[in-house]
């Protein structure tokens, strides 16, 4: 164990050193002059597991911070942008076969996204504030001998989530990006514990940004 650490620590340090040496320039993008709509993007996506749950997810992202990093690696220059965004989603999902797993969810958090020169993106979305409301079909509540039909049956759960995804930026388009996320959501308290669930999200981001003439989008 000790030997492994002795090997691992220099390796990590050399990687960090190498990484830092490769960064030639880092600058923060000035966002102060951008309007709310210029910093905001909207998204719509299929959300589900294809065979079981299917639904739609609507969301919005607000750019908080953007850093452009220019690196020199193996003789070529690479420009990557790193963004931190506020993120909010509203979606619904159902299993059509039995309607036993229908729900509406909303969640809020922060997204980190890296975009390279070719427009390929990698993002991690962490939504600690989440709520899932299930909707059940015809439901009867039994208390002793009393049976009563429940109005709008379902249950509310605290439902934080995390998504990891890839995407592609589309230059000079209203639909600015398409993306694919794998989403992990936890519903709690669920039965005597918590319920994990995985979903795919495939969708598009778009904005209402007014295009300036000769605007160049990387």
């Amino acid at each position: 164990m000790k030997l492994q650490l002795q090997l691992l620590i220099p390796l990590i340090l050399s990687l960090i050193k190498g990484y830092s040496q490769s960064i030639e320039d880092t600058k923060n993008t000035s966002l102060a002059n951008q309007t709310f709509l210029e910093r905001t993007e909207f998204k719509i996506a299929y959300s589900g597991s294809i065979f079981w749950n299917n639904g739609l997810n609507f969301g919005t992202e607000y750019l908080l911070k953007e850093t452009i990093k220019v690196k020199n690696r193996r003789g070529s220059q690479r420009t990557n942008s790193h963004q931190f965004l506020l993120n909010g989603n509203l979606g619904f999902t159902t299993n059509f076969a039995t309607s036993t797993d229908t729900g509406v969810f909303t969640n809020y958090g922060i997204t980190w996204r890296r975009t390279n020169k070719k427009g390929k993106q990698f993002s991690i979305e962490f939504n600690p504030l989440g709520y899932y409301r299930s909707f059940l079909p015809e439901t009867y509540k039994v208390s002793g001998d009393n049976v009563k039909k429940v109005f709008l049956p379902g249950r509310g759960y605290y439902a934080p989530s995390i998504s990891v995804g890839i995407g592609k930026q589309r230059k000079n388009k209203k639909i600015t990006r398409r993306y694919f996320n794998i989403n992990f959501m936890l519903r709690t308290p669920y039965n005597a514990g918590a319920l994990p669930s995985f979903n795919f999200q495939y969708g598009y981001r778009f904005n209402f940004k007014k295009k300036k003439k000769n605007e160049k989008i990387d």
Partner: protein, 347 residues
């Protein structure tokens, strides 16, 4: 942009319209209904299918604990029994697609038995007090069935025990003696000698009394594997085709998560303490005991024990000669005939 919004609005409207238009078919001759029973902080789905023209409902209690109701909706239950009577496939608390919010103390045999009684009240509320209910339990459902009937058997016209584990406490020792007996028989007739010799070594290496839950799980897993071996040897019929669509009705992760959680809460107490053998005499409604002769999971010895101890004046024991733990799949026609005959006699 307008075109884009219109496109997505149209998509959203069509999805919502599809959702809203998914109404249940209330034709009593061909019920196809899913309803939930809310009881003690749990919402449990009951999938009701089949012919309810006579208002006869067969409630099936699934195995596990932690199994799922629709696992039985295939083969003969769908194709034959549903043609005659309505079948209620019930996801028990903490199982299948049941949801809710309760502590670990909120799931135990007593509460789950009350859930079954709550289901019976819902069926009578929805379809009328003249509804005729029959209760069937398979495997763990054969634990939950007696627990329910011992609380209140008045809602039910009959009890069908299918390879049911009314004596979970006695299962460990019965496993060991049954494995030894079956292994000796199989070695005697020259079937898969290497495997059955290993089985004897395995059970000989275990404590003679239940001490460790992992030993119990090992025995249980081995029992299923042993049945596969008996199937390969032609002693048990190969199980017939089941409803493949059932896989789309349950989210697999939910199913697996629920079964693991529920078993982790219930199993230790079940294996150590739960037996209804001494109280079966209190069950007096007509009873049908169905057992696979080669059941390795809940061995045949329990069939006679159930039959002998049931207090019903009208009771029958039927041994399925070519079956293991699931006669509804290995001898489907005979199974349907026996169940329909029992209901016809007692409805």
């Amino acid at each position: 942009m307008k075109r884009l919004i219109n496109k997505y609005t149209l998509l959203l409207v069509s999805v919502l319209a599809t959702l809203i238009s998914c109404s249940d078919d209330e034709n009593l001759e061909n019920l196809n209904n899913t309803l939930f029973v809310r009881h003690k902080n749990a919402d449990m789905p009951a999938y009701i299918h089949g012919n309810a023209s006579e208002k006869v409902f067969l409630i099936i209690l699934h195995g596990g604990p932690g199994g799922y109701g629709l696992s039985y909706r295939g083969s003969t239950i769908k194709n034959k029994i549903e043609k005659e009577y309505a079948v209620v496939y019930f996801d028990q608390r903490g199982s299948g697609m049941a949801q809710g919010s309760y502590s670990k103390d909120g799931i135990n045999v007593d509460i789950m038995a009350e859930d079954v009684l709550a289901l019976s009240k819902v069926i009578k509320h929805k379809y009328g007090n003249d509804s005729k209910l029959f209760l069937m339990g398979h495997s763990w459902g054969g634990t939950l069935g007696p627990a329910t009937l011992l609380k209140d058997q008045s809602p039910f016209l009959g009890w069908i025990d299918v390879d049911g584990s009314h004596n979970v406490k006695g299962l460990y020792q019965e496993y060991i003696s049954n494995f030894k007996r079956v292994a000796a028989e199989q070695i005697g007739i020259g079937n898969d000698i290497e495997y059955w010799s290993k089985v004897i070594d395995f059970v000989n290496g275990l404590d003679s009394e239940y001490n460790d839950i992992n030993d119990m799980y090992d025995l249980n897993n081995e029992a299923f594997f042993a049945e596969e071996k008996l199937e390969e040897s032609g002693i048990i019929n190969t199980e017939g085709s089941q409803d493949n669509n059932v896989i789309f009705k349950y989210t697999p992760l939910t199913l697996i998560w629920n079964v693991l959680n529920t078993q982790s809460i219930l199993d230790e107490n079940l294996f150590r303490n739960v037996t209804y053998t001494d109280r079966l005499s209190e069950i007096t409604i007509p009873s049908l005991v169905i057992w696979g002769k080669h059941d390795m999971v809940v061995p045949l010895g329990f069939a006679q024990e159930a039959y002998d101890n049931l207090g019903s004046s009208k009771k029958e024991l039927v041994i399925f000669e070519k079956s293991g733990h699931s006669p509804m799949f290995s001898e489907p026609d005979l199974f349907a005939d026996k169940v329909i005959e029992f209901i016809n006699e007692n409805k």
